[in-house]
Amino acid sequence: MISPAIAQSIGRIRAIAAKEFRQLARDRLTFGMVVGIPLIQILIFGYSINFDVRNIDAGVVDLANTSGSRALIADLQATQVIRLKEHLQSPGQLEARIASGDLSVGIYVPPDYERRKLDGDRTAVQILVDGSEPTIESVVRGIASPRLSSRAGMAAPDNRLIEVRTLYNPEKRTAVQIVPTLIGVILNMTMVLFTAIAIVRERERGNLELLITTPVKSAELMAGKIVPYILVGLIQTTLIIAVGRWLFDVPFSSNLLDLYLAACLFIAATLMLGLLISTMAVTQFQAVQLGFFTMLPSILLSGFMFPFDGMPVAAQAIAQVLPLTHFVELVRGIALRGAPIGSMPAPLLKLAAFLVIALVLAALRFRKRLD
């Protein structure tokens, strides 16, 4: 039997959760955002964040015009990284077309290509890249270097080609990598904001002054405000998984349960972060500002966008404080490598620790007083 005090406590949490849910359902714009934001974001992110660079517009000046040079150009095209748009007559024309932005890459094969290739001291082919696009530059360097360096050209050009192809295997699509981590990014955006305004809104509307003269406890208020949004978060997770599977062909089949478990923990952690913000902000505007303030570092430092290992130590330290970092690690393991959730205790524990610390801080900061 549970004690009457606990039963009353549960009753109060349930009352607050039911009230929040009702208010959410009645606020049509916010309710629309529950479904709309993840849908729009996964479409935008899914299509625009694309690290497979393909079909870069390229022009070629082939002054050698030998079977060897034609074969080389055909090989480059076969990678699908570049798309041959134009054949031009001189390097000058090539540079002009790149400068005007019509082409991003120019391939110049000098008349003495065959001799240079045998010679080995000089580069055989020159590739001009529009350096204003960092991704393009690095990608083109990637396809160029193994094949066209003088020694590579000498040694085993065919093998090099195969090597490069595997690197840009068309089956290795970004969507597969991006969509699972997008669950984290989208949840991070919506969850923090939902709860960031949850307490401030009641303070602004005057409800809080009444609420704190009732027997409701701080922790009950916090819990009651989080429960409905965990449900909202799980709905969003399901939505992202469904769209990811249907639109971006991301296989989510294995250990879906682990994925939901990780999502649950992450949702609770981000909601708590939002509540903590809500106890600090005085107005809804401040709460939203603070919410956004946590978002950019989360997206940039969590490893979602840039490899975590390449970051400076300070950035890595900041990333450790962000729940998204640990969720990205978890979700990559679960969705991409098929690892069971239990095999990754470190990010699990860090997320749980974040949740507990944020809960304690929020409960300490939120006092049932007005001063």
């Binding site: 009352a15 009230k19 009702r22 005057g206 009732t214």
Partner: protein
């Protein structure tokens, strides 16, 4: 029934930075009565009420509410106190019924009891035909009735009402006070703050607050009898002239116009105040009917607040209608 006072405050003080909102207030509020806080805006009424229900911590002093320390034992008081905030603080996007149910659940009113109490409250406060209406769309009077219904749903021993009638029409105010007397009849202690004289007159006891200080306390009748001034009523066709003449008199502390009449408060120690005023009008060439009159509660209020402030101010005169 318990004969200890419902509220006892000693030296209650609250500062916000350099501002002293409540300044050494002593209160003894008996049970099962309506006790009024009368005072202008910013006089410390709300701050005092908030300290009584534990929302604010006093800077100094102690307050005991229903036998509990209001600051340290505020949680124990939650079930015993009903609080109606100055601003409508229920959820405007919930219906009348949902608001009542929510508050019932928050106060852990048992499910079996809940339906009966809500039904009684709906009937009592004439909201039975509004159960499905969102609280935000109610009129001022309806909102106020709903607020009182929710504040009394858990049958509190003490009801704290912070300017409950500031946004409602006179008829709603009458009905509201009928409800308050009914609650007092059931043994509830009610503390109500107001700046309406007619409401203050209805209270069993009254405390007049000004600038955070308690400047007068007692039953309305007693306060009128003990007013620290004499009241002269002047009727004249030349009100501006009469006013100008009066404002030259050292003993006159306050002048207020009521239609074609003037109410002047003079120092209580003034000898033959009516003769003094008549003489002044004669000298100024103003024809007026002058007589001593019984003080109203408003005169008490003006005497307690204005005269208190100007006690060292010589001939300086302030007019009650122009105070902010």
């Amino acid at each position: 029934m318990n004969d200890d006072p419902a509220i006892q405050a000693r030296g209650l003080t609250r500062q916000f930075g350099a501002l002293t909102a409540v300044d050494h207030v002593d209160l003894t509020i008996p049970r099962a009565q309506i006790y009024g806080f009368l005072g202008p805006n910013g006089s410390g009424k709300s701050t005092t009420i908030r300290m009584l229900c534990g929302l604010l911590v006093p800077t100094a002093g102690a307050v005991e509410v229903l036998g509990h320390d209001a600051t340290r034992e505020s949680e124990k008081l939650r079930q015993k106190i009903g609080y109606m905030t100055q601003r409508f603080s229920l959820w405007e996007d919930l219906t009348v019924l949902e608001n009542l149910r929510f508050i019932a659940d928050i106060f852990s009113i048992p499910a079996a009891e809940r339906g009966r109490r809500i039904e009684t409250a709906l009937a009592e406060y004439h909201l039975a035909d509004r159960t499905q209406q969102r609280a935000g769309t109610l009129s001022g009077g309806q909102k106020q009735r709903l607020a009182l219904a929710t504040a009394t749903l858990h049958e509190p021993e003490l009801l704290l009402l912070d300017e409950p009638t500031s946004a409602v029409d006179p008829q709603s105010r009458r009905d509201f006070w009928e409800s308050l007397f009914r609650l007092v009849g059931q043994g509830t202690t009610i503390l109500v703050s107001t700046h309406y004289m007619d409401e203050a007159e209805r209270c069993h006891r009254l405390a007049i607050l000004d600038n955070g200080r308690l400047v007068a306390e007692g039953t309305p009748k007693r306060l009128v009898e003990d007013i620290d001034a004499v009241v002269i009523e002047v009727e004249s066709d030349d009100i501006p002239g009469a006013r100008a003449a009066l404002s030259q008199v050292v003993e006159v502390k306050s002048i207020a116009q009521l239609g074609t009449r003037l109410h002047a408060l003079l120092n209580r120690a003034t000898q033959d105040p009516d003769k003094l005023v008549r003489r002044v009008f004669e000298q100024a060439g103003v024809s007026a009917k002058v007589e001593l009159t019984r003080a109203s509660l408003e005169d008490v209020f003006v005497a307690a607040t204005l005269l208190g402030r100007n006690s060292n101010g010589g001939s300086q005169t302030r007019e009650s209608g122009k105070r902010q």
